[in-house]
Symmetry: C2
Subunit: 384 residues, 2 copies
């Protein structure tokens, strides 16, 4: 399947001629927005600095009217013959961070995930805390360690303490995990577009440190995002009715015409041994973004409810997206139930958590009402 038909046209940043250009993915190529802007193609739509920047932040700051105008112009240009100089091959391109992330918020909006982690981290007590169904629970993550797909992930070290140990020890994490998420970037108060997010997590570090102030070094070492920001406009055909909410949330979270998105999500894992043997990555989880309890608009309304200003370039991630079936859980700690039920890979290896050399790839695609598009890949390989 082609992730990037004319209906998609996601934005990214790539290296060209020693500098970073903005571009739009279209089939197997990248339309060079920087070069097109220099040729005057957007002179009546926005200032040259917007599309000739090294990331999307200046475009994000323009707001929805300019976003729509740029998208319409790109779409009409790509519907007609275009100078070949304005394209590069996507397969050969080196992608960069599409956005200079301002603040990064990570939510916890999948009910199944929250229940699973409650059971695992707080066995014997009610898995869902009393506040969970009243508001989208979230926390701030570290924006300075968000990296683009393909960046190697170094296994973090940290403190961890076995329940029966007298004191913690310090060393490389032995419970390195993924989190399958979907995130959105904003221009001030509006949602611009979406990316896949892998919120790498060291469960042993997290378990020891997280009370009472939440996850910190168990998450801060790295977060990977996919290089292509899929415009919210491109996803109109995939809006579905959000799951009913019981109890009815407070009025500031009751949003008219709210929507969930029907995005099928996969997690693939390829071990070092599989790669050497030329074996394809194995699918270890399949789920769907419509499983998320709190919608993107509710998340944004919640963050703004205390008067907080949203900036161009803020990133909001859904939290791990887990479905109701064990094969649809979005993290290894859930898939292997804290390592007690290891996953079997096709070459006979088993996995409780990630080993050095493992490469994890998230993908997302939409297929509905005759329209098909995808999110590209969000990959990272573990280094010792």
């Amino acid at each position: 399947m082609n992730d990037f038909p004319i209906e998609n046209l996601p934005y990214g940043a790539f290296s060209r001629d020693g500098s970073v250009h903005l571009g739009v993915a279209f089939d197997e190529r990248i339309f060079d927005l920087h070069a097109a802007s220099r040729s005057g193609a957007f002179h009546d739509v926005c200032e040259p600095g917007v599309l000739e920047a090294e990331n999307l932040n200046p475009l994000l700051a323009q707001g929805p009217h300019v976003w729509a105008a740029v998208r319409a112009r790109v779409r009409s240009m790509l519907g007609a013959p275009v100078d070949a100089e304005l394209f590069v091959e996507r397969a050969a391109a080196s992608m960069r961070m599409p956005v200079a992330v301002a603040d990064y918020v990570d939510f916890y909006s999948s009910e199944q995930h929250a229940r699973n982690l409650g059971k695992i981290f707080r066995p014997g007590s009610e898995p869902l805390l009393p506040n969970w169904k009243w508001m989208p629970i979230g926390y701030h993550g570290r924006s300075g360690t968000i990296v683009v797909s393909g960046t190697p992930i170094r296994r973090p070290s940290g403190q961890r303490k076995a329940p029966d140990a007298e004191r913690p020890d310090f060393g490389p994490s032995t419970m390195l995990d993924i989190e399958l998420e979907l995130g959105f970037v904003t221009g001030d108060d509006a949602i611009f577009g979406l990316v896949l997010v892998n919120d790498w997590s060291a469960r042993d570090i997290q378990a020891w440190e997280y009370q009472p102030l939440g996850p910190f070094l168990g998450k801060s070492f790295a977060t990977t995002i996919s290089p292509w920001v899929v415009p919210l406009d491109a996803l109109a055909a995939f809006r579905v009715r959000p799951a009913p909410q019981d109890p009815v949330p407070p009025s500031y979270l009751q949003i008219e015409d709210d929507f969930a998105l029907d995005v099928a999500l996969d997690v693939r894992l390829q071990s070092e041994e599989m790669r050497v043997a030329g074996m394809a990555p194995a699918v270890i989880s399949q789920t769907n973004a419509r499983n998320v309890y709190w919608t993107m608009r509710q998340q944004l309304a919640h963050v703004r409810s205390n008067g907080t200003r949203i900036r161009a370039g803020d990133l909001f991630a859904s939290g791990t997206i887990s479905g109701s079936e064990p094969t649809s859980y979005g993290s290894l700690i859930e898939l292997t139930w804290r390592g007690t039920k290891p996953i079997r890979l096709p070459n006979g290896e088993s996995r409780a958590f990630l080993e050095d050399g493992d490469e994890v790839t998230l993908t997302g695609r939409c297929d509905r009402n005759g329209v098909r598009l995808g999110f590209g890949c969000c990959s990272g390989r573990i280094e010792p």
Copy 2:
């Protein structure tokens, strides 16, 4: 006392002629670094873009050698007659954010504060959680809502739930609080300088939302910093031996020649009624930064221990600094024991938490070995 003698020379940003200039506070004036740089005074020390920027970030990125060279040059210039055009009156200046804050980490490093909050938020259980003495507990805050002293603080709304209520309600916080903190800004891996930090906190919102992922909207609406960044170099005379730590922390937190800082800290409150009556602000707390259990270098070593890259412009705050006496607690929730022991103001008003119109001012000063200097003010006034 003069906060800004020649031994201090803190950096800030201020408005001049319609743009933002960097400057150095010296006695009652500001030495205009931007103007001095344009006149060529630093041509052999750093590129013109560094001191002619609108914030300290380019200087922070230069690292300690350039910091020392700039400081030495400023000091030698101010020891001789200087063109009056290079000064503005400090009292008339409009101060701006000295730093574009990249990531903001807030620690929880005062033992007395952690014990007090444990008793208040988790009555009946051990106040200090098992991890507290093994590592500096912290979390990421919102960098986009950090504001400079003098910026009005709007009372946040949010969800809160009384213990006996069946469901939460939404409305303006009735438990708006301060947190007296000292923070440091970094250039990559080194500490550049320090500011006062008021981490405004809505305790009712915080209490309902904070489990399991930590503080979020109860803190994210605003954090105020003082406008003058006091260079770590200026504080050499105020280094003191850190408090002994028991248990001995892991080796990555054992830092040779580590230090605490002897900085006397005050919190002052002036109500609307006091202001109208011309009454001076009342001191409501007095403490000292040497009371902090985890040092700045330990905090930085901890954040870096999982491989996290520190950026120029990152801000790390100590967490509320509380001493052992009830009059030395650094927040109202501790000073009034969650409102059960209201503070009496000199005009007869009482305070459990902040009322609209209240102005809170933090100050810090050092006086040791014949050297005296201060941090200026960190103020904010509550708006409805």
